[in-house]
Symmetry: D2
Subunit: 338 residues, 4 copies
């Protein structure tokens, strides 16, 4: 149940209402607004009907909500949420957010060279993996803590926020200067990790699990929101299907569905979906046309020598050309100019 | 093997070459060009090597082709094919082709009312089903031959080409005035039907089977091309996956893959993919951004009363708005203005 | 709605009841039993309630049915249906039905050699394809009508019923001596073909479409049943999923679901599911353990030289060993001894 | 590369060989056998050829291995591995291992009541979840540490080993008396967790991720094996497909594939695959017929009141009947009597 109350509701009435709700067994989450506050009720005595609550003085509106999630729902928060980090905004009508960089940080020099190149191409956030979840234990696993610090230094030098994937609760302290925490597809339902990042005060980019439904994905976001962190960004990166001409099947419909059902920003990752740089441009454009607020792309100065995912990395030249097309497209679609 | 020969090759040499090829057991298909002819060889004696053929006077080039299909491949025909029908062109840099109409022809009046409305919105081809392949034998099966004739009349009256799905070889005669034959998803691997439409001299729009890979789809087109009909148009309409928030998962990547591997035009059908009119706009835009040459949409003047697929049909107003957005988008993407 | 009436219901009352039902717009299908007749009503006036009908003298029972299909449902026909053909029975507690033979009939000699071998191994029905639906138009397409006649001759000589896949309505006449008609996975939703075989008086083995849900499959059977042919046998042959270590994913759950929801026999085809002879035994046993009434296996005397599907064909020796294991298993599971 | 060396190889030669391998950059894992030792080499200088090594005195055999995994492969360890824990053995020709209990430990009394009941039915290992990974943050999350201790106490009282799912590295200490650690489907690619349990000296049951290929699953096991823990048990619990009549699609083929490619034991979990108790029996039998070494089933004394997964839990009576059928089946299949 979701109850909207007037900011000016008398304190005694408010206390009474809350006491009653607690007694009925509800768990109450409050979100403060400018003119109204919103109470979100979960579980509790179903015998308590909306009509009773609606009669309390100062209660503006009450309704049963229809989805299995609450905090992520447009029913709870109708306006688009905008996530802001270090001078970069994502969501609503904000300009398209561009995230780029190598799959993995390979060395101090390499991340800075690539960072510089994508900065010149117009990027907003620099990406780079440090602890790489690889299917095989014999594959390159990333530089670990060293990789995190190279990426952070690079971001400071270039004055750009950075994003890095977190795979272990025990590493959180080492990620304190990372601007945006990425939760990868394989960890989308690692609920212990979700709860941990829900306690941080930095944005979390939540990739879709490779066989997760949109509803399960929103519920994973709900785990983070419930712990108090409102800054969740979804990232569509393709799902697993029978089709093998691309690495995954980019599900652009999910972007449209998320935009209808939730208020949170959505980013598209065409690189992991395609698995082949040749298709990255078409998928990036398609994702933005479907409503994505940002685009995360793997870029490398020497894709042929990349330690991981070289086949799907764009060269700097291709990336520059893509940025121009994305900007033209996003303006036609009514998004603010960069 | 694909052999390019000079138009000016001496007849005796050509006869000799062909004789040799036949003796070696090859089946030879010839496509005549302006300066060159192209010979496509299938099966036959693998002992015959390219080098021998390359030495024949008048042979320009010979190569082993790398894919399992031939006629549909860019290796065989590098330039974009453009399909033309009754004043409408589709493919290459031609303006975006707009196809719209009801799921099923419901009556003479109804198809004309809807036809008129979509014509005013700027449509190029009018659609309408007559023999509807329905999952349940108890569901509305379409008006049959009557439906075909209402659609044809409507097209003549409005001076627009029409497209109608064919489900039975025995019906071909009744479709003689239908401009474009549609092969539905359920019949994509009905090879007997494919061979039959391969003998017609009208364009065939081939929908993707709901669990068909891109390669199987191209091979289905190859069945049509092999019978002599070069006018095949692919239509991506979503594939079956685990995701249930849309009826099917629109695979925009397939559009990019088809554009790379084949020379044939591609249309996107966002209505069947979405299964919900709310997502049709986002998916139509995404399909065009990914490279589609046309968009086929279900439109109804009274979606709530449609005899089939009402939930996914756009109203005329929504369709008019969509057409404007599609045009703006296609210009940004470098397509000719309509 | 399903109405059970007493055989001894007075003719005048029966006529009255039927008249009323027709007037209300119902389509009525009658199935005659020994003591009772069953009326199946589809569509019609929903205003007509069960209670009114229940009061008619001679009406034993009336109920609304809960699934989207009727004739295939256990609600309509509670006992297991047994399909009988030329001395072979399949379904209920009948002994496990063994179907085997080559993927395609390759020559008169070849089908007879293989037929003889599988007969000695204990087979009940001999299989062999004549018109092969192949993904590529350049692959071996089968011997066509010649193949059908070789198979029929072989069956006569060995006094065993034969099964052959039908892909074209126009071929039906040529299949008149084929004992069981097979509808392949690619044609499961070729409704025109289903309606045509629904008018025959011979059993139809209906393979599951490679991306068809169990419900769609039952509805495809309903198309056949509705035309008057009650002898439908389901055949699970694997579905398409992301997994690639087998050609398809054998869905043994579907066998359990079909057995609960319908009264029709179910056969398992481990060969097409596995795509690799090494896994055929395990899948055959699993299918029978899950409840299958029969097993269809591809067997070849020289799998390495088979013109199609050699990789998944068992040798005769392997097949003989499999038959012994299947028999032991089916006895443990409570099935009649062969 | 895999090198088999004679136990009696001279120490100096052995040291020389190892030194050379280290210098060439190989990582060497040694597994000691009775007559032979096996060296597994990963990465390293590809310039070093098998022929050179084969000539070293005492080297029995050398071969390049063909799969992406090593320790899990039959190429590395040809005989079936048998995992033993507290008097219970699983794998090879050992009797079928029966694991049963509630989805979640709900109270001290409840786990003991259910534990007692399944012990009487003949169970080998008692299951019960404590930290439940639930799709929704609002669903029952398990009793946590309390749940672990109730389960452990129950096992001690009934003298049966217990199995419990681990979801967080930080909980490992609290699981010290749990006999078998379960890694759930959602954590199959939580590599940090896999590495952590690879350092324990207790068996790990590794469930298949819901969209993981068999190869990815074996590679996940390889993460555990590589850390030194050889006691990995696979558990097939169904994969995600388009089919919705069961919760997941039990992939019995995976059991056959695992048995061919690896030496590790495999358990089948029909409860999570079915999602409906009605289909549990058929799937349990199918799994064993396909080669599974054990069966894990959810059983509850009051399924209708279970706090989670009640719909798929068997009653005690149904479970007793199932055990009898499983035993009869496993004897027919050549497994040792219990």
């Amino acid at each position: 149940m979701i109850i909207t109350i007037d900011k000016k509701m008398q304190d005694s009435i408010k206390k009474n209402l809350l006491d009653t709700l607690y007694k009925k067994g509800f768990e109450v989450l409050m979100q403060e607004g400018i003119e109204y506050d919103v109470l979100l009720l979960t579980e509790g005595d179903t015998g308590m009907c909306c009509a009773d609550i609606r009669m309390v003085e100062g209660v503006i509106d009450v309704f049963e909500n229809s989805s299995s999630y609450h905090l992520a729902s447009r029913e709870f928060h109708n306006e688009d949420s905008i996530v802001r980090v270090n001078g970069c905004s994502i969501g609503g009508k904000e300009p398209l957010c561009l995230i780029a960089g190598p799959c993995a940080v390979e060395s101090k020099e390499s991340i800075e060279t690539i960072g510089m190149a994508v900065k010149e191409a117009g990027v907003d956030v620099i990406r780079g993996g440090a602890f790489k979840p690889r299917t095989s234990p014999y594959a390159f696993q990333g530089l670990g803590f060293e990789g995190v610090s190279y990426l952070v230094e690079c971001g400071k030098k270039l004055k750009k926020p950075v994003i890095c994937e977190l795979t272990n609760i025990a590493h959180i302290e080492a990620y304190k200067d990372v601007d945006i925490i990425q939760i990868g597809a394989r960890n989308m339902q690692n609920y212990e990790l979700l709860k941990a990042v829900g306690k941080l005060d930095k944005p979390v980019l939540l990739k879709r699990g490779m066989a997760s439904t949109v509803e399960e994905w929103i519920l994973a976001a709900e785990y983070i929101l419930k712990e108090g962190n409102p800054n969740v960004i979804f990232c569509e990166r393709g799902i697993r299907t029978f089709e093998k001409s691309t690495r995954n099947t980019l599900d652009v419909s999910s972007i449209a569905v998320l935009k209808e059902k939730t208020h949170l920003p959505v980013v598209v990752d065409p690189s992991h979906a395609a698995g082949n740089w040749k298709y990255v441009k078409a998928l990036a454009l398609a994702g933005v046309a479907a409503g994505a607020d940002g685009v995360m792309v793997e870029v490398h100065t020497q894709p042929e020598n990349a330690l991981s995912d070289g086949a799907q990395s764009l060269t700097v030249n291709h990336y520059e050309a893509l940025v121009k097309e994305l900007e033209a497209l996003s303006v036609v679609l009514g998004r603010k100019c960069r």
